[in-house]
């Protein structure tokens, strides 16, 4: 280590960094080094302080104590501009782009480069993108872009400002596997040119694939830094969680009754009149988990929203215990015991009120059911406290705005509340999106627990391995249509993958 420092090999060196928010210690005495020309993966459970640490590098927060060295020089970073001047660029979990400007305009926004013509600028950007194999259309407006395109703009934005040290906070949480592959090719190229990259991710296979070294945070402390090659997924998990974790998912056998929910010839159009669901038929029984697989935008969101009464149904019926609930208001559907939780790409989305604490969020779907004109907060507070205990939610208190919680904790609050309402049907979309392993397993356990209680569960997921292990049956959506519904223990990942792209493997037998 000493020698490296002398040679100026370290791009970044953090020494004894501390940071607290009120009574929550987010970072405790952290030492971290990033070498020139390496990819360092930062691993840790949700709330272990990864984002906080990186925010101090990028000038969003300031450390309470400790020192920061960049290329051997001690520095003080007070603003994102300071960080950029030092060559540090961060891609945040929540992108910070101006929606109605084009990619190029977003890229130069706030820079002090001399005025240049739009075409010249577009050319510069193209050159830069070409060099790293990035693919962007400088004139495209942000609101027309997919999540992955927006991310690319963010990356070009910091590169354009001369970043040599790139920090990526959970960049793959919202990407498809193919998009992630592309991203890894880009950062590998950057690394080969001597840049340094810090990447935060919960997906261990990604860590193993792309990183040179891994630093593991646990409860705000840096517990270890290891060479990726000399490590394993099991070892990293153990370091992260603090104990050995069994990485297999249970699929308990249950008694499956008649269908609770029958979807018959469901057709839905979105606001622009595009057909999003076409002739969808399936049923959902109590005591089962029905998984839904499909590439992003295959109609998952519309299906969830139609079931929850949030989306106008054009054709067909949704039968709940043989009774058609199409046309009921969301409120009536909640009262029937159908609970829907959708974790959108920005995570907070529509299930939670960001500025409110856990107590008020617990009330969101049930406040109407108490008598009188006033909300009853004390039972909600007790529920919140129970949830904190049961799901290990890390938060300063029941009244801390949920926007201050880390992503995983936010999701535990959301799903915990839905389960707390003791639904008969639980619809959950992407509940483990961006969650660390331990939290994800907590969620799987919760779902299994509900299943054994006889709840009918519709699980919309991304990770095929998880779908195959957790669900009883898997329904594949493609372009708004049900491709097939299969018994999970009788298919392979490859077969589902094919179905997801609209092809029908011949040898698949119907199990519907």
């Amino acid at each position: 280590m000493e020698k490296e420092q002398l040679n100026g090999l370290n791009a970044i060196e953090l020494k004894g960094i501390n940071k607290s928010f009120g009574s929550v210690v987010a970072n405790k005495n952290i030492d971290l080094t990033v070498r020139k020309g390496e990819i360092l993966a930062l691993l840790g459970e949700n709330g272990s302080g990864k984002t906080t640490l990186m925010n101090m590098l990028s000038g969003i927060y300031r450390p309470d104590s400790g020192s920061v060295f960049v290329y051997g020089q001690e520095v003080h970073i007070y603003t994102p501009q300071d960080a950029l001047n030092l060559g540090i660029g961060m891609i945040h979990q929540h992108y910070k782009l101006v929606d109605n400007l084009s990619a190029a305009e977003n890229i130069v926004l706030g820079t002090k480069t001399k005025k240049q013509s739009m075409s010249q600028l577009a050319k510069n950007i193209e050159q830069l993108s070409l060099h790293f194999g990035l693919n962007i259309d400088p004139n495209k407006k942000i609101y027309d872009m997919s999540v992955s395109e927006k991310q690319t703009v963010e990356i070009v934005k910091v590169l354009y400002r001369g970043a040599k040290i790139l920090v990526l906070d959970e960049p793959t949480a919202v990407l498809t596997p193919q998009e992630s592959k592309k991203l890894f090719a880009i950062i590998t190229k950057m690394k080969e040119e001597g840049n340094s990259i810090i990447i935060i991710t919960h997906k261990l296979n990604e860590v193993m694939e792309v990183s040179d070294r891994v630093s593991v945070l646990r409860k705000g402390e840096c517990v270890a830094t290891v060479e990726t090659k000399k490590s394993s997924a099991e070892q990293l998990t153990e370091l992260m969680v603090g104990r050995a974790v069994d990485l297999s998912i249970e699929r308990p056998e249950t008694f499956k009754s008649d269908p609770v929910l029958e979807i018959v010839r469901l057709g839905v159009r979105n606001d622009e009149g595009v057909e999003m669901l076409k002739d969808v038929n399936f049923d959902l029984r109590s005591g089962e988990i029905l998984g839904v697989a499909g590439v992003a935008g295959s109609g998952q969101k519309e299906l969830c929203e139609a079931l929850a009464g949030l989306q106008k149904v054009e054709k067909g019926a949704i039968l709940y215990y043989k009774e058609n609930i199409v046309g009921r208001t969301p409120d009536e559907i909640i009262r029937l015991g159908i609970s829907m939780s959708f974790v959108p790409e920005d995570r907070l989305g529509m299930g939670l009120v960001a500025s409110m604490g856990m107590t008020d969020n617990m009330l969101l779907k049930t406040y109407k059911q108490s008598r009188g004109g006033f909300v009853k907060r004390s039972p909600a507070r007790l529920k919140a406290k129970a949830l904190i205990e049961r799901l290990d939610i890390i938060t300063p208190g029941t009244e801390t705005p949920v926007s201050k919680l880390s992503g995983g904790n936010v999701q535990k609050v959301l799903l915990g509340r839905e389960i707390e309402s003791q639904p008969n049907v639980l619809i959950t979309a992407y509940p483990v999106r961006g969650l660390d392993i331990n939290s994800a397993y907590t969620i799987y356990d919760l779902l299994n627990e509900q299943k054994m209680k006889g709840v009918a569960i519709l699980f919309i997921g991304e990770d095929l391995d998880v779908l195959l292990e957790l669900c009883d049956r898997i329904m594949v959506l493609y372009d708004g249509q049900v491709q097939d519904i299969l018994q999970a223990d009788q298919v392979t990942k490859e077969q589902i993958g094919l179905l997801m792209t609209g092809q029908k493997p011949r040898e698949l037998k119907e199990v519907r």
Binding site: F21, I60, Y61, V75, H76, Y78, T79, Q81, D82, N85, A308, L310, T329, P330, D331, E332, I333, I334, M340, G349, M350, G351, L352, V353, A354, S355, M356, D360, L363, L364, K365, Y367, K368, G373, F374, V375
Partner: protein, 362 residues
């Protein structure tokens, strides 16, 4: 203030958004704001050749020094508090109602109809009717932009702003046309209200002060503890989330704007029947706009609204007093008010941002 090494070509200071907030700091900054405002105002007064301490003392004396001056100050506070509460209700929902001025006027017009043409009704019945119709009229006037927003997503800022002028011109029309007082020798004004249509004066200030004092805790409880208040907060944060939770967003928007407009309308009735005893085109006189600043400075907190309203009334009443006492011109008194206000508002900036001075590069 912080220092960081300055890199060549960098500006002297930088502005950074404050992500973490602390209540103690907010309090200290607000106290500093008042002190800085008084200092700057004092500097201005010394330029005019006055002793600032004497003037400030006089301003305070002019507003709270005697029973009569206190009564006068309270009279200013009443419509300001009620309007700021009305603004707070809407702003909590992120509905930018800048039309309480107009809603107040419309409430006053509706009440005045009964005062002018049903003046022979028994006092209690008449006053209750006037209060009721002012609430309904103001509420309906607030409902219009709410309906358009809920139905067609129109911009409420523009609509509520324009509605102010329509209301104002309506009074002017009434004053010069149908409601012109024939006994005023051709002078365009509306007749004074009959005794029956005037509010009683407990403790020497019209009954409105009791209403204002009651409204503060009521609005506080409504926002903080009622189901409807909870709905306002959720809708303000995200309409999507509100729909997901089973709320009817249009219903919440319209109901809240009816209440907001209704409160402002009631303030109009209290002002006309209690303070002015007639309907004039200055019945609101900008109170609806001042109320926005009051609500904002009070952070939409009803208790703070009361406090801030008193500070504003002190500036206004005290400003009037020093004009007559020290022969300070009306415009100079206005400038003083402006300076003080400017500083108080500017310091709010420091609660949201911090400034970092760059050291010279080495």
């Amino acid at each position: 203030m912080l220092k960081s090494r300055r890199i060549k070509g960098e500006p002297l200071f930088k502005i950074q958004r404050i992500e973490e907030e602390s209540p103690t700091k907010s309090f200290i900054v607000r106290v500093l704001a008042v002190l800085a405002a008084l200092t700057a105002g004092g500097f201005f007064l010394s330029l005019l050749g006055h002793n600032p301490l004497v003037i400030y003392q006089a301003m305070f004396k002019g507003s709270f020094g005697s029973v009569m001056s206190t009564q006068g100050t309270v009279k200013i506070v009443v419509p300001l508090v009620i309007n700021a509460l009305a603004v707070s209700l809407a702003f909590k929902m992120r509905f930018w109602n800048i039309g309480t001025e107009g809603q107040m006027i419309v409430g006053a017009i509706a009440a005045s109809y009964f005062a002018l043409f049903k003046g022979n009704w028994p006092h209690f019945l008449l006053i209750s009717t006037m209060a009721l119709v002012s609430i309904i009229a103001g509420g309906l006037y607030g409902l219009i932009p709410a309906y358009f927003k809920a139905r067609f997503s129109t911009n409420e800022t523009l609509l509520t702003l324009m509605a102010n002028y329509i209301a104002l011109y309506a009074v002017q029309y009434l004053k010069e046309g149908p409601w012109k007082d024939p006994g005023a020798k051709g002078f365009p004004q509306i007749a004074r209200f009959a005794q029956n249509a005037r509010l009683s004066m407990p403790l020497g200030v019209h009954f409105g002060w009791i209403i204002a004092l009651l409204a503060v805790p009521l609005v506080y409880i409504y926002l903080r503890y009622s189901k409807q208040g909870y709905e306002i907060a959720v809708v303000g944060e995200s309409e999507k989330t509100a729909t997901y939770a089973g709320m009817s967003v249009p219903k919440v928007i319209m109901r809240t704007m009816f209440l907001s407009g209704g409160l402002a309308g009631l303030a109009g009735m209290l002002q006309a029947s209690g303070a002015d005893r007639t309907l004039t085109d200055t019945v609101a006189g900008g109170v609806g706009f001042t109320a926005i600043i009051v609500a904002w400075l009070a952070n939409l907190n009803p208790a703070a609204v009361l406090l801030v309203s008193f500070l504003f009334a002190l500036l206004e009443k005290g400003g009037g007093y020093i004009q007559s006492m020290f022969k300070i011109s009306a415009s100079a008194a206005d400038v003083l008010q402006g300076i003080i206000l400017f500083f108080v508002l500017a310091f709010e900036f420091f609660l949201r941002y911090r400034i970092i001075i760059n050291k010279k590069g080495d």
